[in-house]
Amino acid sequence: MMPVSGNELSKMTIAEARDALRGGDVTSAELTEACLSQIEGAGALGAFVHDTPEIAREQARAADERIKAGDAPDMCGIPLGIKDLFCTRGVPSQAASRILEGFKPEYESTVSGKLLEAGAVMLGKLNMDEFAMGSSNETSVYGNAVNPWRREGDEAPLTPGGSSGGSAAAVAADLCLAATGTDTGGSIRQPAAFTGITGIKPTYGRCSRWGIVAFASSLDQAGPMTKDVRDAAIMLEAMCGHDAKDSTSADLAVPDFEAMLTGDIKGKRIGIPKEYHMDGMPAEIEALWAEGRKMLEDAGAEMVDISLPHTKYALPAYYVIAPAEASSNLARYDGVRYGHRARLAQGDGITEMYEKTRAEGFGHEVQRRVMVGTYVLSAGFYDAYYNRARKVRTLIKRDFETVFADGIDAILTPTTPSAAFGLGEMTEADPVAMYLNDVFTVTVNLAGLPGISVPAGLGSKGLPLGLQLIGRPWEEGDLLNTAYALEQAAGFVAKPQKWW
């Protein structure tokens, strides 16, 4: 189905747009204008926080020329949104934090740079949780993004998830064709699940972290958030690859992921980990998971019950390691060189400058994590917390290695323990309740594995639900193909009703 009218253009997938661009059926300028007008009318979603229409139009013009010349890569002319965590040259890049007020980098992150080099068009920067710390996009200095989905018969605004909430909302609402996200503990997959889109976090080291504002360096990975699995394959290929500027980037060839999407998963062994059955998990999640199992089985995969025994320790370990690294990564925001600096009183010295700047510049959740991280690294507590968490991390990694060594090709789990929740619903709660959103996703970051969320059905209130597939390290192609088979079986085509 090829959308034809101007209003419909932003609904295209990357693959559709690519083919239409190459076929001369549409121009990047037209696609870009369609997206810009959608963005203009979608202020209520709070998805875009810095629009860059001039840059977008200029890039679209250049892309159209390149397409005409006939040497255009897949991403050429595709209008994208870029998460605010990516540093983009000359464009505000604030990680949704007050402390980076006014910061415009003089450099372009490797990942956004690769997309731009491939001819992609940047529409603007997308909302997120401050420093990617959050699961609801409510910790953003710009205010929250809103999920384009609503519960049936209920106008209460819902979270698009987080931290890549703006990216998810923008893609789900067809404000852009796709968006970049980053995922430290589930920040691509959970919002993808909450908004009915596809999001993949590749193997740690697949995408360069250079130029992405660091949250937890050993866990952070960039990835695409797209309308379907094929788009995820196309866009991921453009984003990843070795980067000498990131020592943790892997020097591995990037396969043609799209070519691996055959949909044939016959004989694949897919594990169902028993530890992911959580007490109090909603019936609709259990039901979706069971359906997913059935779908893959019907597609010819062999479903295997497996055990990942250290799963229950993953969340506590994650909430030690991530804040520990964050407390150090965020030390550079001190008001000395860039971003926000507090007004000082007469007689204030450097300590007051640090304290006031950081108290004003960081929101509560960021402050909480900086303090937790500082605590777990401090003398006398280091072994009890940080070192123990690192050991747990090794055990979790080993759990996965064991099942993969036993011949498991992928693992199927729910992406989240619930559908999207209401904005404000969780903010009053114990922060740990919010952290529980990451319960199925953090293991993947701790183990450095690729994980993808695919929309697999609607819950009882008409909200999208996602299933997560976890793959072997560096085998994103195989993982995407399994996800593709699941996507075809699930046949998820629902779209949110436009209310914005």
């Binding site: 003089e106 660091a214 690294e325 550079r332």
Partner: protein, 503 residues
Amino acid sequence: MLDLTYDAPEPKVIAGAKHDWELVIGMEVHAQVSSKAKLFSGASTQFGAEPNSNVAFVDAAMPGMLPVINEFCVEQAVRTGLGLKAQIHLKSAFDRKNYFYPDLPQGYQISQLYEPIVGEGEILVDMEPGIARKVRIERIHLEQDAGKSIHDMDPNMSFVDLNRTGVALMEIVSRPDIRGPEEAAAYVVKLRQILRYLGTCDGNMQNGNLRADVNVSVCRPGAYEKYMETQDFSHLGTRCEIKNMNSMRFIQAAIDFEARRQIRILEEGGEIVQETRLYDPDKGETRSMRSKEEAHDYRYFPCPDLLPLELEQAWVDDIAAHLPELPDEKKARFMADYGLTEYDASVLTAETASAAFFEKAADGRDGKLAANWVINELFGRLRKDGDKDITESPVSPEQLGKVIDLIKSDTISGKIAKELFEIVYTEGGDPEEIVEARGMKQVTDTGAIEAALDEIIAANPAQVEKAKENPKLAGWFVGQVMKATGGKANPKAVNELVQKKLG
């Protein structure tokens, strides 16, 4: 090659009011790695550049910037380790040391706490001929330097210069094997010498490229031996660390002051508080900087931006195979090959440049004579000439060698040689040609000397009579002959003739 053996020096003993005390000293030397680029960025390390001009994005800790290890700095650290006969760790790792300061943009220093690149080694610290202290090296690790805060340019503001930020340092940590202020200074001298031989640090202390933190404690005689037997630190006193010393003189003065301060406290029944102190060279005293309680909690943890550093043995072996000759070896070789005394060999090998100068000047010649000329004449002359370095010597080794040849062949006397040297030093030129052109050749022709002597005898009959009675007066005739020949007569030949004619 000579196998030199040394006796350990006596430890310094300080007499307190009540009893004797000994010193125990350990050093942490920060040596700036000689490298054009910083440890984790491509920014230049050039000294004295415009403030904040040698700063890469990662040095300024811009958001999202990542460190990438400079392989050459790793090579330099390995070279240093090999030069100190130390264990090279094929696997090491970087950690973050977290603290806030405006000249530390990242809010942490990348260092190597848990797994340093170099392990145990040793340095032979020469005190005097035949006497040397073997000081054990505990470890060497690579780390980033901080920038510079400038507080005195404006009454209300502080300024920060990030040029030094991220420059590679080697922290070279010794065991507490140093037993006195002189040994401590000698340790730094020897370490500096080895680093300069290796080309891994220029040793420029004035620019802060080599600075030392000195850990000082005092103990009663006998306690240190117990420590050495057991390696149990409880036998030693509580130590204080004197930070950031960049002069040999201050190191000695600070240790001396600090030891006496500790002794006074202990003899008055007090306790030493472990703390960090600063030396004030104007007042000649150390002052408390921060106590153990106030010490920073650096929250060290493995730097997640860097993979562990893994080296291949073959790569290390290749560096080892290309190490230059080191001071101890060179000194022993000079003693063996040129017959030099340990003292002369030490003086000549203090710097590679002077050793190389000597070797060229001594090539195919009398080594001892060459050593005397280099040490006494050339070094002396350079000192008088505004303390010039050997590399700035106006006399080349070839020129000096020719001067030596002229002495050896009896072409010129020692006295004329000094005049010749001065001419070569100030005016330049080929010594042989100068001697020829200026008629400086020694007269060994006995006929000419005899003619001159005969003339003097004929003109001074009274002196001849006196000299015959008192042979000691014969010297007067020698002097007259030398004067008559313009100093060029061979003194030996003159003496013999005078003896013969008057004797």
